[in-house]
Amino acid sequence: MTDCVPADNPGEKLDPAAILVVEDEVLIRLMIAEELRAAGYVVLEAADTDEAMAVLQADAGIGLVFTDVRMPGVLDGLGLARWVRARMPHLKVIVASADQASLRGPGSWDAGMTKPYDIPGVLRCVRRLLGASGEP
């Protein structure tokens, strides 16, 4: 069951913004990205945290980062969340993992989701975090 853990600090409204999906399993990344695009969002994709940081530093108009926790590379998803929170605190972050224990807070993210994904739950979570002005 996918779980969207409410954030303690829902935060301010954001401008319409792109979503960066960070996932090293290409078929899962494709599925999530296409579901979000079908819901009307602009979605950018990164295959690992190095790619994600490159996109974020390029100022691609991102408002929300959706990242898997377990990924190869220097940073895992939780490390990426901390990196984002330290440098771009205005961005919303969702972390996802099959291991619910890894999502226990407090952490540098706004919501945690368990895998496998429940797509309606993902969309509700994204909609809530981006707020009305971030609607597609």
Binding site: V26, L27, R29, L30, A33, L44, E45, A46, A47, D48, E51, A54, V55, A58, A60
Partner: protein, 134 residues
Amino acid sequence: MTAATTANETSATVLVVEDEVLIRMVISEYLRHCGYRVIEAASGDEALVVLQQPEINVDAVLSDVQMPGAIDGFALARWVRNNRPGLEVILVGSPTRAAEAAGDLCESGPTLSKPYDPQVVVNRIKVLLAQRKP
């Protein structure tokens, strides 16, 4: 934009294989803007995973020649030729000679050189897909 207007008539799927994320992002977004469904692969290995899924339709592959890992653009084109005959592959390479060599691997020899010119890419895809039609 002319290309966007005409390409909106199709829902063809393009698999973009590029290990440089910012380049992949730009060309993928451009192709989506032109009306294509785009699947992104960050490596030849990821591309093979996608191409081995029978339920995922792919009409054309746009791949960088030089990529890290076991499967570069050449190897990917060879795999497609052997396993997905009829699927169009456009190889993109910086060195001209590499791109020419890539042409030898593809029956129709479609190659492009870097840096990407998005308009040229779209035009090449349109031509290739049009040639496939009976």
